[in-house]
Assembly symmetry: C2
Homo-oligomer: 300 residues x 2
Amino acid sequence: MPKLIAIDWGTSSFRAWLLGARGTVLDEVPSGPGILSVPEGDFDAAFETALGHWLSTHPDLPVIASGMITSRNGWIETPYLPLPLDARSLADALTAHVTKRGRRLHFVTGAVRNPDHGLPDVMRGEETEIIGHLAASAVAEGLFVLPGTHSKWAWVEDGRLTGFDTCMTGEVFAILRDHSILGRLINDGSTSSDAFRRGLEAGRGEGALLTRIFSARSLALMDRLEEGEIADYLSGLLIGDEVAGALSSAQGPVTIIGRGDLAERYRVALAHAGAEATLAAPGMARAGLWEIAKLAGVIG
Amino acid sequence: MPKLIAIDWGTSSFRAWLLGARGTVLDEVPSGPGILSVPEGDFDAAFETALGHWLSTHPDLPVIASGMITSRNGWIETPYLPLPLDARSLADALTAHVTKRGRRLHFVTGAVRNPDHGLPDVMRGEETEIIGHLAASAVAEGLFVLPGTHSKWAWVEDGRLTGFDTCMTGEVFAILRDHSILGRLINDGSTSSDAFRRGLEAGRGEGALLTRIFSARSLALMDRLEEGEIADYLSGLLIGDEVAGALSSAQGPVTIIGRGDLAERYRVALAHAGAEATLAAPGMARAGLWEIAKLAGVIG
């Protein structure tokens, strides 16, 4: 019997689950429009289009959503929650919203680290995945990385999220490939794990990152890197630099919350840097949404 | 009386000079098509269009050119000269080329640093500017920076270019501004030297560069940076990181070979990092072309 509709609604992704008792998955909508793909920002229409079949079959089922949907470019903008935070504080900070058709939604807000001195940082969505992992694994401490367009490195102490950093690796890789001189020589080849590892080595090197990335071109000009290898080399270089920077301020085993090829790249990069890394079980976003909804008393 | 036509022909720039005795400037063509702007790669036509008035008036005047014009995307591709090099070795390596109309040109080739271990690097054009500065100033030692789309840091010992690094700062700034999420909040404001200095401070900071650049967004989201200040902040952050990386491997006073606002930004960044910096006199490209042509016996 369905208990909750849970939505992970990001910048370029949309996933939703129909959850039953104890958060078991009864049905899934695996894809939909990310918030930047919603025509004219009509989130009411996008919501009905994506989930109408569940909404009409289960008119009284509570709905909870997390991710960039609560950002300035989203459905409603909710204030960030300061650190430290846990599932309880996220549950207490849920924002209720009634759609044009009268459906009640609960939005999980994002997190902010905004020190008086030093640089601020923000996240929307990843806090829910971290909470999900803590709830699912009964872990209360650790260093986590969530690979993505903007990867997040997060520190958990005593069951609470106490710090995090954003790294723009994924986005910068894409714009270097698509818009910089480094992309001109790139030929899409088959994936080269050797080129990726050579990139990791350069990523750990000395000197400015924007100097080291030029080697993706100069190695090719010297015939020391094939055109089909440049993309993997550059990916390794950026991820290697990211991992070295993260491990310079935090030690210990790292848990990767993510899936597929990108999560595997981070696993290899962490091992290359001498850090123990484990992959979290899949489904952490929906686990977090379930946990927060439960604590908030939203589930009927 | 004219002695030489000298051309500095880069990726996105073209400048040429009609030089008289001792390299004095008799006339100048201040702009023309960079090599990527030459229609269908017809460099013969571009050359005639840009300089036809000089070519017909002075049919026997020698012509010398340096820059990306000798690259894979240029008129002819010439092999890079390995380090160390000086004006004499560049003069000995001139490549003669006869145009379709029978005009004889001399191309100055670029430089390569290609160690067995470690990353290679290449330049085309900057070596001529450095040679020009050495000839004009009688300096034989030092650390030089040539700001640009790809800035170059170069080491000179005993009158010879012994090492250099490329840093993609200018190009990465442009693509972050034009294609990344950081650009979305940017409003062109008046130039803010305060925001530039705040960026320099973040550029000297700890952790991965791709983490620190995200502060150009998060500071704005926190209302700690105005939208009109984001571009200058980001510029400072990237240049600050570049300068910190360069000074970590080389100390001593720095000579900036460049002009205008960008050269001034590097001067401020170097001073902020505690390094003494001086600005080279203008005209180093033509001074280098003159020196190389003189040593090669090209000048009539």
